[in-house]
């Protein structure tokens, strides 16, 4: 299941924001599913995210000088089952941004490459009817182009290198109901700007280097899977562990404290007659946030699975 579920956890970010996203690393990586040994999945996913309201610190507002900010992305992901307990993912999005009003130029380019390893720690049967899977997940993200993070909300990303550690669990009943959850922490490297000074979080700093606060993310999903269908629905919480607020009528800044709570729903369908082809359709909406856009995201993806 669920490249899409995973993707959705990231897209609010990706789209999100006044500040765009952190890396698209979560693309395809949110669920507890592992590939079979020597199974290879190739996915192309299209994301469309838009917002016309954002939170300036905790103040929700609109802004006639940007109107609606739209972020589109095309993400290519390859996943490989090394063995029954370990799946590797590699993912790279191409992102472009656009504002419907005002004079700010949209930007586009290759964003951040993510490599992820998902490892099944144990997999017991509970009460003879439900399977529990516990996973340890590690990921690394690195920008693949020299896009600037200093033009938010039009920048395509934050240009920070990152490492992520996640603990995930998946409990699935034999009737098809399942619950997914994870908690993760992302460590982010400092970012370098093209200017020699900046003001953020109550401080004027005469340096081109910006300290990036780390990020915690939590996710809970309830879903149902039967036959060719799988439908997960859930909530994602992102909390940036530091950083300043956007000040009144200021521009957003790369190290802002970007928080949000988003609801997301997804439908996956394994196309009949075409073995190994899966269609994903999903949506997410930010319910509340801080220094992010109130984005609504639509994602659609096509995955082809085959054995080596």
């Amino acid at each position: 299941m669920s490249l899409l579920a995973r993707a959705l956890s990231l897209t609010p970010l990706l789209a999100g924001v006044v500040a765009v996203p952190r890396t698209a690393h979560a693309q395809t990586l949110e669920d507890a599913e592992l590939l079979r040994p020597r199974e290879l999945n190739a996915t192309v996913m299209y994301g469309h995210d838009a917002w016309n309201k954002y939170w300036e610190g905790s103040l929700k507002r609109d802004n006639g000088n940007i109107g609606t900010v739209t972020t589109s992305s095309i993400t290519s992901t390859v996943a490989y089952g090394v063995n029954g307990n370990l799946t590797l993912f590699a993912s790279l999005p191409y992102v472009s941004t656009e504002a419907s009003q005002g004079v700010l130029r949209g930007m586009s380019g290759r964003q951040d490459f993510t490599l992820m390893a998902k490892y099944r720690v144990f997999n017991p049967l509970i009460a003879g009817r439900a399977r529990l899977k516990v996973l340890a997940v590690g990921a690394a993200g690195v920008p693949t182009s020299d896009y600037t993070p200093d033009f938010l909300p039009m920048s395509i990303g934050l240009h920070s290198k990152s490492l992520t550690a996640r603990a995930a669990a998946h409990l699935q009943d034999r009737t098809g109901w399942f619950f997914d959850g994870f908690a993760e922490r992302m460590w982010r490297s400092n970012v370098t700007l093209d200017r020699s000074s900046y003001y953020t979080d109550g401080q004027w700093i005469e340096s081109n280097e910006v300290a990036m606060p780390d990020v915690a993310e939590y996710r809970g999903t309830l879903g149902w899977q039967r036959g060719a269908w799988c439908v997960p629905v859930g909530f994602t919480f992102q909390r940036t562990l530091g950083g300043g607020d956007i000040r009144r009528q200021d521009m957003p800044f790369v190290s802002n404290r970007m928080n949000f709570t988003a609801a997301h729903a997804e439908v996956m369908y394994f196309l009949p007659g075409l073995s190994g082809l899966r269609l994903d359709l999903g949506a997410a909406h930010v319910l509340s946030g801080r220094n992010v856009g109130q984005s609504t995201t639509i994602m659609t993806g096509l995955t082809y699975a085959f054995h080596l």
């Binding site: 507002r61 006639g64 000088n65 090394v82 063995n83 307990n85 370990l86 590797l88 009003q101 005002g102 004079v103 700010l104 130029r105 949209g106 390893a117 490892y119 340890a136 590690g138 990921a139 690394a140 020299d146 600037t148 200093d150 033009f151 290198k161 990152s162 490492l163 992520t164 550690a165 460590w187 490297s189 400092n190 700007l193 093209d194 200017r195 020699s196 000074s197 900046y198 003001y199 109550g202 401080q203 004027w204 700093i205 005469e206 340096s207 280097e209 910006v210 300290a211 990036m212 000040r247 009144r248 009528q249 200021d250 521009m251």
Partner: protein
């Protein structure tokens, strides 16, 4: 046999488990490595050492005054003799305080000693950046004016935009320069030696010079700067006051001044500030925001000349920034002299030259290289920054520090630089409003910008004008940097074309305008006695 094969089987299992764990373990190790790395940002100036001035500039009390009528316009009372009981008691108190210095006090001594002008300039850059935010629109589409009587409100007062900032930097620098020249006058009038010269048990962080200590230059700076900054940035009164107190404490703990040196310096600094503030209250800044009637008449005048008048590209439409700043009093020029240095008109909005200029902006922004984008961002100096004048103050600071200048000579550098940039702001804003020329994105809505679009007319480029003047002034004071300053001025200018917000003619004419004003200010001060 059976047990052997079991053992082999188990061994193989272990091998494969290790292999399977290898990758996650590597990832976890990398995560741990990143998690433990230090994210602290090193700000170069924060930990720079105290400055021992290369020269005491003993004759600075004779340098020409700019606002004060004479160096002794403010009277400083005679000090007590160093042999007096009162002075000896001050020394005893000083030594006792030195004996129990806290780490924070030691850090303050390192921070302030010999670098008061530099430190206050840094602090002012921070204040400008903090208050450099435009008012947000009200629900009815209007923009509230920042109110000096309600500085903590929304919007904060001030909106420290480039003209406001250029004036603020200049008032602080001029007031510091006036106060320090007066201090030098009295220092050499009274010739009270530094505490460590009268009592060897007083310790110093830098070797005591021959500079007399009464009144304390550190206390003069604390008094004059705090008063000026409280006028200009009233909502920051808390930290301004704390910083000023810290500087006076550091003067004593560094062994450079006694309590009476500090008291006399503080009083002198505040009295000089009061004189400079009298000028500031009458310089026309109160009317600089203009009004709706003026806005309309500026636009109508451009239309009547057959030109396309500037239109705000913001939603809702915002009045042009400080549209009446061109009538604010300059430091070195009469209004007629301001006009005489201004550039002629821009190419007509219907001329082939303007079409060519516009096409160049379109072509450049549509094919912008990453290096060009970096230059646009480097010199953006937009909302939330110290502004272009602040950027040039930061550039000057490196040279001032390297030259190990006395406080009074450092103050002279900033006074010259900032008087020039204030006079630039006056001349540039006057020219902008006179021609009311549209920005590229107005004439060609397909032009999108890589930086925020300033909300005032295009011609000439403020960045170029500020930079032309700054490079001219700094180039004469620091000839070794002249070529670099000029290259920086060119880069600052062209950055506005890369950003998509200025035509080449704005930039070329702006820089030339700035150079004329820079030269004018240098001439104005060429006989001030400091060279």
């Amino acid at each position: 046999m059976r047990s052997t094969s079991d053992r082999v089987g188990r061994a193989m299992d272990l091998t494969s488990i290790r292999a399977r764990h290898a990758l996650p373990l590597t990832v976890l190790a990398a995560v741990a490595a990143l998690a433990s790395c230090d994210k602290t940002i090193t700000v170069p100036s924060a930990s720079l050492p105290p400055i021992a001035a290369a020269s005491v500039d003993a004759n600075a009390g004779t340098w020409k005054m700019l606002v004060l009528t004479a160096p002794d316009q403010v009277v400083v009372p005679d000090p007590t003799a160093t042999s007096s009981t009162a002075y000896q008691a001050e020394l005893t108190t000083l030594k006792a305080a030195q004996a129990i210095m806290t780490d924070a006090q030691r850090a303050a001594v390192q921070y302030w000693t010999g670098a008061g002008v530099l430190r206050w300039n840094e602090i002012e850059r921070e204040l400008v950046a903090r208050y450099n935010l435009p008012p947000a629109p009200s629900a009815d589409g209007s923009y509230p004016l920042p109110d000096a009587e309600n500085p903590f409100g929304d919007p904060n007062f001030p909106f420290a935009n480039p003209p406001y900032a250029s004036r603020a930097y200049s008032y602080v620098s001029v007031a510091q320069y006036e106060a320090l020249k007066a201090a030098w006058f009295y220092k050499y009038k009274f010739n009270r030696p530094a505490p460590s010269k009268t009592d060897p048990a007083v310790t110093t962080v830098i070797p005591a010079s021959t500079l007399p200590s009464y009144p304390s230059e550190d206390a003069v700076l604390s008094g004059v700067t705090a008063e000026m900054l409280k006028l200009l940035f009233p909502a920051a009164v808390d930290e301004i006051t704390r910083k000023a107190y810290e500087q006076r404490q550091a003067a004593i703990l560094s062994g450079r001044a006694t309590a009476s040196d500090v008291a006399a310096g503080l009083a002198l600094g505040k009295a000089v500030a009061a004189l400079v503030i009298t000028r500031a209250r009458a310089d026309g800044m109160g009317a600089a925001a203009g009004n709706g009637t003026m806005w309309k008449s500026l636009a109508d005048a451009a239309t009547a000349r057959g030109e396309i008048a500037w239109l705000s590209q913001e939603t809702p439409k915002r009045p042009p920034m400080l549209m009446n700043f061109g009538t604010v009093k300059a430091w070195t020029m009469t209004p007629a002299e301001v006009t005489s240095l201004e550039p002629g008109p821009p190419p007509s909005t219907s001329s082939p030259e303007m079409r060519k200029d516009l096409a160049e902006v379109k072509q450049t922004t549509d094919h912008l290289s990453r290096d060009q984008l970096a230059i646009a961002l480097k010199w953006n100096d937009g909302a939330g920054t110290a502004t272009p004048p602040g950027h040039w103050n930061a550039i000057a600071s490196t040279y001032v520090r390297e030259a190990r200048m006395s406080e009074v000579r450092a103050a002279r550098v900033y006074a010259m630089l900032n008087m020039a940039m204030h006079d630039v702001a006056v001349g540039c804003w006057d020219t902008k409003m006179k021609y009311f020329n549209p920005r590229p994105a107005q004439l060609d809505p397909s032009i999108k910008t890589m930086i925020g679009l300033p909300n005032f007319p295009s011609y000439p480029s403020g960045h170029s004008t500020f930079s032309g003047a700054a490079a001219t002034v700094l180039g004469q004071i620091f000839p070794q940097g002249a070529a670099d300053f000029d290259a920086m001025a060119d880069e600052a200018g062209i950055s506005r074309l890369y950003g998509g917000i200025h035509y080449r003619s704005d930039i070329v004419n702006g820089k030339a305008h700035g150079k004329r004003i820079g030269t004018w200010v240098l001439n104005y001060l060429s006989t001030d006695g400091a060279n």
